[in-house]
């Protein structure tokens, strides 16, 4: 009943505003009449009576306004008015408006992009029930301190003894060739242990998971397919389930299709899942990904404690476990530990800086403008506007600005997100994870409001606090600018400069790092080199003979192609993603050294491999036709191998081997190369000739003509030789290198762009404040010049006061950059976060630009015309 009455009142106030207002005026008029009548009765004359009545009631306009405030809908009607008014004010100074909107757009846009990406990576990357209970389990090598893959036997012991996990599972990277559906294709998948899907808690879209029986060796030729693969290669036919597909020559029965949104981010994409091979390697072979689902109520830290304890027990029990610990990390943190996470963090830091500087900049613009508008505001208050009302009006203006900025920011955010999706590694599936969400919309609106309040509140409070009489009396130009106002402006400018220095330092560090990466000597040539993956399926190339025969047929045909210089086959190529590591042993030396310390990469190559890739021979010879299967086993090592295993010795004719293989005589030494990419150091390498250990994974071609032009003929030759053979990863070495450096390049461009932006904003802000102070002090300056002050002296004084601000801001910024540099640590290559050159250069660069920006206000201060100024008196 009461609510109804209240509602009726509100509606009346809202829609019959004019009538309600006229009633109010009438009501107050009646009161005045009564008062006047009473005064007349007391013997006053008519004029005094009316005046006394007015005095007693107080300001009519104020009372009316206060009554209107109580209608509770006034904010609505007034907001409409305020917005219209604010819009008119912004339209009146398009330059100011455009500058503020663009500035805010960058701040809001960058923050929105970061939020979108963070939400994608943190909230949507784990589409499983209670994802917080999912953890990754690593083996930790005590000596190296690195998190590594786990071993099967370790896993089994963990599983048997722990009490913290509801389920555990392990997985292995897996590749197979699909045949029988058009061109053969090399697929990437994952082998999973029993309980993997149950651990994640997902249901297949169609079909079912593997039964326990199907995961026993011998009967485990079953496969689950990804939705994407099923759509792409199998035409989304439902009858695929229950039928067989041929993977690497072996028929696999399809038991189910995973849902479209199923993704388990494992640093590679999966087209299929098969049961894992259970092999007892003892406590060696750390090559599996370990995962677990915590029991309800168990914290990650508690699980970590128990696992560490178990690992300590195992160290005592098994020799191979010595030096190995276990590490439990929530799956979400594990994703962010990657380079992607660090990049996101840097992006976020940069975005926050841009947003803060944008807010500071617009705030100082508004503040300077607000001081110039103090007279207008004083008049408003004299006309009956309360302080709250004035505050609201000014806040409306800044909120309108931030809203306009946000609209432009959304466009920028969209572009930035697209950029990020483009450079993120494919396994993150970032593109599929990014989406519009209600929380994103809420964040955008909240951010916009916060930005508006952040930029507008202070200037508005200042303006609303203005003292009436002073401002009315003042002709709008005071002799000297108010100390408090200038101090606030200065504070904002100092803050902006400090933040700009931080970002400039970041950009400098990333640029230097990128320069190091691009300058890094890879050790092989990147031009005119084409590589592709072509594993020979063991089902059809059953023995060494078959493999060698195929190569002997293929090689001459490839070499005969026009423009071909040399052709090589190997088990891996630089940046190809395949590598195998083993402990290395030297004959006659004790092999009891720490496994990790004896680690080396070992590889199988044909004789022309080094010439084709472009790795120079330093000593001895390369493999040749004489190194047949029946001849003496030989090897070639690189200089890093010699440094590590045979320091100061002549490596030639020494015998060495990867653990568990046969001894080989070292016949040559080659130069070092960065096999895993420009940011990795050269590792010890041990090569055996393909003729003595046949295994083909990759083919490399050096050409005299552009590499791309040979792709077609090469494919044709291979298809003629073996139509079932799949080739993939066809790319030039330059493409591989570009891909490997894509992330640092994108990050440098992004942070560099943001740094330039903040540099521009902060110097513009500084110049604006200086120009404002100069214009406020025109009369003082005019007086000084009239009294004989030199013009250059005045200009110098302006520059000096600007210099003070720059120095303070730069010092704070340099200190901030020193402490914030840690964020970058994992993304930097060949440069430390505390690189002295960058730490010094960034503030100096900023100071130089900032001083230049102050030349204009200094000039205008020096060219004040004393006559013109004094005439205003």
């Amino acid at each position: 009943m009461r609510l109804l009455r209240v509602f009726r009142q509100r509606m009346r106030s809202l829609f019959r505003g004019a009538k309600v207002d006229s009633e109010l005026v009438n009501e107050l008029q009646f009161h005045l009449e009564q008062l006047t009548r009473e005064n007349l009765a007391a013997g006053m004359d008519a004029r005094t009576a009316r005046q006394a009545a007015r005095c007693e009631l107080g300001g009519l306009a104020q009372v009316e306004e206060e009554c209107r405030d109580h209608r509770r809908v006034s904010w609505l009607t007034e907001m409409g008015k305020d917005i219209r008014y604010a819009w008119r004010m912004l339209r009146k100074s398009p330059g100011f408006t455009a500058l503020a909107v663009i500035t805010l757009a960058f701040g809001v846009g960058a923050s929105l992009a970061v939020y979108t990406l963070a939400e994608a990576m943190l909230l949507r990357s784990l589409p499983f029930p209670s994802p917080d209970r999912l953890v990754a389990i690593y083996s930790v090598h005590a000596l190296r301190g690195t998190s590594e893959s786990i071993g099967q036997e370790d896993f089994r012991d963990w599983q048997a003894t722990n009490t913290v996990f509801e389920r555990m599972a392990f997985t292995e990277f897996n590749q197979r060739t699909l045949t029988g559906f058009g061109d053969p294709e090399r697929l990437t998948g994952t082998s999973v242990s029993e309980g993997f899907f149950e651990m994640l808690g997902v249901q297949p879209l169609m079909g079912r998971w593997f039964t326990p029986r199907e995961q026993k060796p011998g009967v485990d030729h079953v496969v689950m397919l990804s939705y994407g693969f099923w759509m792409r290669r199998l035409g989304a036919r439902p009858d695929v389930v229950g039928n067989t597909i041929v993977l690497s020559g072996v028929p696999y029965r399809v038991t189910g299709i995973m849902p479209a949104n199923f993704r388990f981010l494992e640093w590679h994409l999966s087209d299929y899942w098969t049961p894992i091979d259970y092999v007892n390697y003892g406590h060696k072979n750390h090559q599996y990904g370990g995962y677990g689902r915590l029991k309800t109520g168990i914290a990650v830290a508690a699980a970590q404690r128990q696992m560490s304890e178990i690992a300590r027990r195992m160290e005592k029990e098994f020799a191979d476990c010595k030096g190995w610990g276990a590490r439990v990390v929530s799956l979400r943190s594990a994703l962010l530990e990657d380079e992607v996470g660090s990049a996101l963090l840097v992006f976020a830091a940069a975005a926050i800086v841009v947003l803060l500087v944008a807010c500071g900049n617009v705030a100082s613009l508004l503040l300077a403008r607000g001081i110039g508008r103090s007279k207008e505001i004083a008049i408003r208050m004299a006309m009956g506007a309360g302080r709250r009302r004035v505050l609201r009006l000014l806040l409306t203006e800044s909120l309108l600005l931030s809203s306009l900025g946000a609209v432009a920011g959304v466009v920028l955010a969209w572009w930035l997100v697209r950029l990020a999706v483009g450079v993120a590694p494919a396994w993150t599936q970032l593109g599929a994870l990014v989406s519009m969400s209600p929380t994103l919309a809420i964040f955008a609106v909240a951010l916009t409001l916060a930005t508006g309040v952040l930029t507008g509140l202070w200037p508005a409070v200042r303006a609303a606090r203005a003292v009436l009489q002073n401002d009315l009396k003042e002709s709008g130009v005071s002799l000297v600018a108010g100390k408090r106002q200038v101090r606030t402006l200065n504070g904002l400018v100092v803050g902006e400069i400090a933040l700009a220095v931080v970002l400039l330092t970041f950009a400098g560090l990333l640029t230097k790092s990128l320069a190091q990466i691009l300058r890094a000597d890879l050790g092989y040539r990147t031009d005119h080199l084409l590589t592709f993956r072509m594993p020979l399926p063991s089902s059809r190339y059953k023995d060494d003979q078959a493999c060698l025969q195929f190569w002997d047929k293929l090689r001459p045909q490839l070499e005969a192609l026009p423009g071909m210089i040399s052709v090589a086959a190997s088990d891996g190529v630089p940046l190809g993603g395949a590598a195998s590591y083993n402990p290395m042993e030297i004959e006659g030396r004790s092999a009891a050294r720490e496994w990790a310390q004896a680690d080396g990469r070992w590889s199988i190559v044909t004789g022309d491999y080094f010439r084709t890739i472009g790795i120079p021979l330093r000593a001895g010879r390369t493999f040749n036709g004489g190194d047949t299967a029946s001849a003496e086993p030989v090897a070639i090592v690189n200089e890093a191998f010699v440094r590590k295993f045979l320091p100061g010795e002549n490596p030639l004719d020494k015998h060495a081997r990867p653990q568990g293989s046969r001894w080989r005589r070292i016949v040559g030494v080659i130069g070092d190369s960065r096999y895993q990419g420009p940011t990795q150091t050269a590792e010890p390498e041990f090569y055996a000739p393909l003729t003595q250990a046949p295994w083909i994974g990759f083919v490399a071609l050096r050409t005299a003509i552009p590499e791309a032009s040979v792709i077609g003929p090469v494919r044709a030759i291979i298809r003629k030789l073996d139509p079932l053979l799949a080739i993939s990863q066809v790319r030039t070495m330059q493409q591989s290198v570009d891909q490997a450096t894509q992330m640092p390049r994108a990050l440098m461009a992004l942070v560099g762009g943001f740094a330039g932006l903040t540099l521009g904003m902060s110097t513009l802000g500084l110049a604006g404040v200086m120009a404002y102070t100069v214009s406020r002090r025109k009369r003082e300056l005019g007086l000084r010049i009239a009294l004989g002050a030199g013009r250059s002296e005045i200009a110098r004084a302006v520059i000096r006061s600007a210099g003070g601000l720059i120095a303070v801001g730069a010092a704070i910024g340099a200190a901030g950059a020193y402490f914030a540099g840690q964020v970058l640590e994992s993304l930097l290559y060949g440069v430390r976060p505390h690189d002295p050159l960058v730490l010094v250069a960034a503030p100096i660069a900023l100071a130089a630009v900032a001083v230049l920006a102050c030349l204009a206000p200094a000039h205008s201060a020096a060219s004040v015309d004393p006559m013109a100024v004094l005439r205003q008196e």
Binding site: R2, V6, E23, L24, F30, G58, G59, V63, C67
Partner: protein, 109 residues
């Protein structure tokens, strides 16, 4: 004549509700009534009376109606609503609690 006391914070609503308890009154009448009933001790700040009336109206405690005054001029008369009466009871109760407490302090201290 001593200067009229300022109204205690928050008692204005109570006085207004009480003043119109028996018959609807216009703003001027309410001010006069409070002044007379308090033997000229309490003077309603004229400037704060109308905002208070409008607030009470918006909250639904009082209802307003335009009626002719004895002088033949239209004026806005305020009357208590049923909810207003209940609100008055509540305010009276809280007022007596407050005044008893104050008295107790004054007596015992």
């Amino acid at each position: 004549m001593p200067k009229p006391s300022d109204l205690l914070q928050g008692t204005l609503d109570l006085l207004i509700l009480k003043a119109i308890n028996h018959e609807p009154l216009h703003g001027w009448g309410i001010a006069k009534r409070i002044q007379v009933l308090s033997d000229e001790v309490l003077a309603v700040q004229q400037g704060s009376l109308y905002p208070a009336l409008h607030r009470l109206e918006q909250q639904g405690w009082v209802a307003a109606e335009w009626k002719d005054t004895e002088l033949g001029r239209q004026a806005k008369f305020y009357a208590l609503t049923r909810e207003g009466r209940r609100q008055l009871d509540r305010e009276l109760a809280s007022w007596s609690r407050l005044s008893t407490a104050v008295e107790q302090v004054l007596e015992r201290a």
